[in-house]
């Protein structure tokens, strides 16, 4: 079963500031991780993510523009605990969400649910390829209820 994720895909390609609020944040420099814990709200453009815990994995590379500086690039995002992703058109919920930022792929697991207007889809796992706009709800019995537009 496919889900329309075009807005999320466009959003992810547009350069945007990222704002994250949480109760605590811990940077583990050796492991190149930043862990946000407690009432996590992350916002990037029109996409917001709420969760109990968000782990950002990053890598550091020499900055091509300034060789003395290091450029930090996020590679992975892992959210856990009451994950809610809201885009302009849909709301996606699940127990966990994992995003491969470089590959532009997103997995939501643990009772994934997508609500778009009156259309609701449930399944075990939602996979979205933000590059190709392809998405897939899999696992167990996928249920969907579609209300045709009036």
């Amino acid at each position: 079963q496919t889900v329309d994720t075009s807005t999320a895909a466009t959003e992810s390609k547009t350069p945007r500031n990222v704002d994250i609020e949480a109760d605590t944040m811990e940077i583990l420099d050796e492991q190149k991780k930043a862990i946000f814990k407690g009432n996590v709200k992350a916002k990037r453009g029109d996409v917001t993510l709420n969760a109990e815990l968000l782990t950002v994995t990053y890598e550091e590379q020499p900055d091509p523009k300034n060789k003395d500086e290091k450029k930090t690039e996020v590679t992975l995002l892992d959210a856990e605990g009451s994950v809610v992703i809201v885009t302009a058109k849909q709301t996606v919920t699940g127990k966990t969400a994992h995003m491969d930022v470089k590959a532009n792929k997103l997995w939501v697991k643990g009772g994934a649910k997508v609500v778009q207007g009156k259309t609701v889809m449930n399944g075990e796992q939602l996979f979205v390829d933000l590059k190709t706009n392809k998405s897939e709800m899999t696992g167990g019995r996928v249920k969907g209820s579609f209300v045709p537009g009036q």
Binding site: N17, V18, I20, I27
Partner: protein
């Protein structure tokens, strides 16, 4: 009986009165010169004894409060738990005589290194160093800088210098190369590798595409 003059040859008998007349004319000058020399020597002697130098105002006895010892431009150095050197400098340091382990510092700056050699520097207006346990309480305009990583500003911080551990429970603002973090407390441990921001965190990261988002 011949007199002694007859014994002097005729030529010199004529020159002698001339010479005597000349000497008579020079005598006042010579005696004046000797007088001047004598005065000069006397003056030199008096000068040498300090008769003419204006007496310097008596240096006010530096009244050091009985209970303090003040040192200016002082530096405390040591080795941390990884045998890496650290230093703490201050414009003035006042040691409390009753509690000599406490040293009040003004205009504090210090430096230490992470295992990978990166420098961590800190500065503040005031500080209190405990030489027993080697801790430093920084106060007022505290700035912690970890080279190429971040600059953190806060108003108070407690530093265990030998272990490179810093804790603060007041608002902290951190400037990263590509963003900022504001929190209400921070703990830096594990050689500067673990940085925990507490009591409500707001992180902002510069514009990022999902291809290479920029986060700390």
């Amino acid at each position: 009986m011949s007199s002694r003059i007859d014994a002097i040859p005729q030529g010199s008998r004529r020159r002698r009165p001339l010479r005597a007349a000349r000497r008579a004319r020079l005598a006042p000058y010579v005696s004046g010169a000797f007088g001047l020399i004598a005065v000069g020597v006397l003056l030199a002697f008096l000068y040498q004894t300090g008769a003419f130098t204006t007496k310097p105002k008596p240096v006010e006895e530096a009244v050091v409060p009985a209970d303090h010892v003040t040192v200016s431009t002082s530096t405390i150095t040591g080795l941390d738990s990884q045998q890496r050197p650290y230093s703490i400098s201050a414009k003035t340091a006042i040691q409390d005589k009753d509690e000599p382990k406490f040293i009040k510092l003004n205009d504090v700056s210090g430096a230490t290194n992470r295992k990978n050699g990166e420098a961590i520097t800190f500065q503040s207006q005031k500080g209190l160093y405990n030489s027993d346990v080697k801790t430093l309480d920084l106060d007022t305009e505290v700035v912690i800088q970890s080279k190429d990583r971040f600059t953190a500003r806060m108003d108070k911080a407690h530093v265990v210098v030998g272990e490179k551990r810093l804790t603060s429970d007041v608002p902290v603002q951190v400037q990263l190369s590509n963003g900022t973090i504001n929190a209400n407390g921070v703990q830096i441990t594990n050689d500067g590798n673990n940085i925990l921001f507490l009591n409500g965190v707001k992180a902002h990261f510069g514009s990022s595409k999902s291809q290479g988002d920029s986060t700390p």
